[in-house]
Symmetry: C2
Subunit: 342 residues, 2 copies
């Protein structure tokens, strides 16, 4: 009698045979128990337990033309910035019965070859794209893509819904804060020039510098969001003759801000005594440093949740807002102070 169920995995029909019903009935017990008579349901449940039945996802997906998965594509899993966002996303999606899977677009290394592997309705019911450099143009025209929403980064010109921080406002806040403290010369450590986040923050910083009475001098240091580039910026700053050094620094990422600060520290200077620093993102670590970094906070969990809610709406065919802007917030901590007397 043991051989009823061959060694392999139990199928729906195996359960059905055991319970003395048809496969259809078992299917219904599992996905819509209400329509099945009580006694039958019990019998099926028992058969399920006895056989250890577990559904075959491939078969269900094929039949239902859906996967129950949302895939998030991030440019670099190594960036701790995404962690909290993914967390918020995962929880929101779990609540709606979807699984979140994360894949790295490998932006840096081997080109985006693997992107289209996931942009496929038989792979995911929805895509949350967090890589603004993804070559989306090739695919945008196709009518058979699963719904896509961009989060954090976005693709200029692509007709995709967006969820992101008001980066321009963030740039403005950072510069305004330094100005309010009395800094008249501000250094900007930017991101990669082609990056949309860089551009928005840069624009905000300029607006903040030039609005109101008495403009501010701006000096730009090239950067790419990494600590290496923050370190280079510190070197460049140190190499400047004293009067040409900006007294306030606005780094477009917390990582660059950290590395910059370490660079000054290593040269025997102190923050904020010798220079004030404002970062961007508010990654967890920077509040635990000493001095704790003043920075522009992104509501990361909230971004994740919002993006998830929007992809769920799109999957369900509901109307959605094309752009969702979240408000940045200045976290004033220990790395900013009035400039040193000159």
């Amino acid at each position: 009698m043991e051989s009823q169920t061959p060694p392999g995995r139990a199928r729906l029909s195996d359960v059905a045979r055991r319970a003395g019903v048809s496969a259809s009935t078992v299917s219904r017990v599992l996905s819509n128990p209400g329509v099945v008579a009580h006694a039958t349901r019990e019998a099926v449940m028992q058969a399920v337990a006895e056989t250890g039945y577990r559904m075959n996802h491939a078969a269900r997906n094929l039949r239902k033309q859906r996967t129950g998965c949302v895939v998030a594509l991030v440019p670099n899993l190594g960036n701790p910035f995404f962690a909290k966002i993914l967390d918020g996303m995962g929880r929101e999606l779990a609540g709606a019965g979807y699984d979140l899977l994360v894949a790295d677009t490998l932006e840096d290394s081997g080109r985006h070859t693997r992107l289209d592997r996931f942009l496929d309705p038989s792979r995911a019911d929805g895509i949350i794209l967090m890589d603004g450099l993804a070559p989306f143009g090739d695919l945008a025209g196709r009518a058979d893509l699963p719904p896509v929403v961009t989060a954090c980064e976005w693709i200029e010109g692509a007709d995709l819904p967006r969820v992101m921080l008001d980066n321009r406002q963030g740039g403005r806040l950072a510069v305004a804060h330094l100005r309010a403290l009395g800094h008249c010369h501000i250094g900007l450590i930017g991101g990669p020039p082609g990056n949309v986040l860089h551009q928005a923050r840069h624009q905000g910083a300029h607006e903040g510098a030039h609005e109101g009475a008495g403009g501010v001098r701006l000096t730009e240091f090239p950067g790419d969001f990494t600590m290496q580039s923050g370190q280079r910026a510190a070197q460049a700053w140190l190499a400047l003759p004293r009067p040409d050094r900006p007294t306030g620094i606005f780094a477009f990422s917390d990582e660059m801000a950290c590395a910059f600060m370490s660079g000054l520290h290593r040269a025997g200077l102190a923050v904020p005594r010798d220079a004030s620093i404002v970062g961007f993102d508010d990654i967890e670590l920077v509040s635990h440093l000493s001095p704790a970094l003043t920075t522009i906070r992104q509501p990361k969990r909230e971004i994740g949740r919002k993006a998830a809610r929007i992809i769920l709406d799109r999957i369900a065919g509901r109307e959605i807002a094309p752009v969702t802007l979240l408000a940045p917030r200045l976290m004033e901590r220990e790395t900013t102070a009035p400039p040193p007397p000159s």
Copy 2:
């Protein structure tokens, strides 16, 4: 003639009709071109291009009984430690034609309910489990699971292949380093007591403390790998009367080491002048701090690559080693020095 291909997505049979061949032939062109005559192949290729055909994964997976995916289950996507590991893993798997998907087991928050959703051959061809607390016991008996390998963490008692750092040796190295500098009283900031990494590092630390001539005094501070707990340890340390303060600190994670260091700094003390600190993991950030953290390095990309190679071997049915231990390495930087004269 346009209506040949209805608005939806082109199927294999649509391509076939267009090329004037059977679906079988199209399938063969796509997966095994060698067996198809040149002219036919050309025609099919053209039809594929014209229809914009893209394969339906669900159908293929169902038929082939494989998915082409490996799922990595991490306890907390928020931990930057995993980033580099996943990176190494992803590259290795990509090279073998597999996609890497990452899912969070949500260890902290809502129990491990979602774990078994992925432990399923119709979901993944292999699983890389990085969560030592996963309730694997419930599933271990089942013969129908996809191959599983544990990486970084492991499950004591479970018969699963393991890839990890020699954590004991790492603990030993850290303590030996502090002893060599002359520290006779060493503080340990541990992880959660039930955690296997904690236990191995703890054992190594004790061995390092008691081997050789003249033992060392050990003081333990509770921790859980987070920065909060590192901060608490700093408070506890500061509250100790001067002669009872360990002069050397070995934190079982870089994050705790950072927070501890900030705590001392905030209290007006300097590292390594007033205390030496050794961390664990060598996450990217700590080499960019000032002072740069002395720590035990884990070869993260290598761990990822090894784990990937092992899961590939298991998928292919090849024999594998049950345990793969990687060697830790002491990264001597700026946070360790001889103890202050008492």
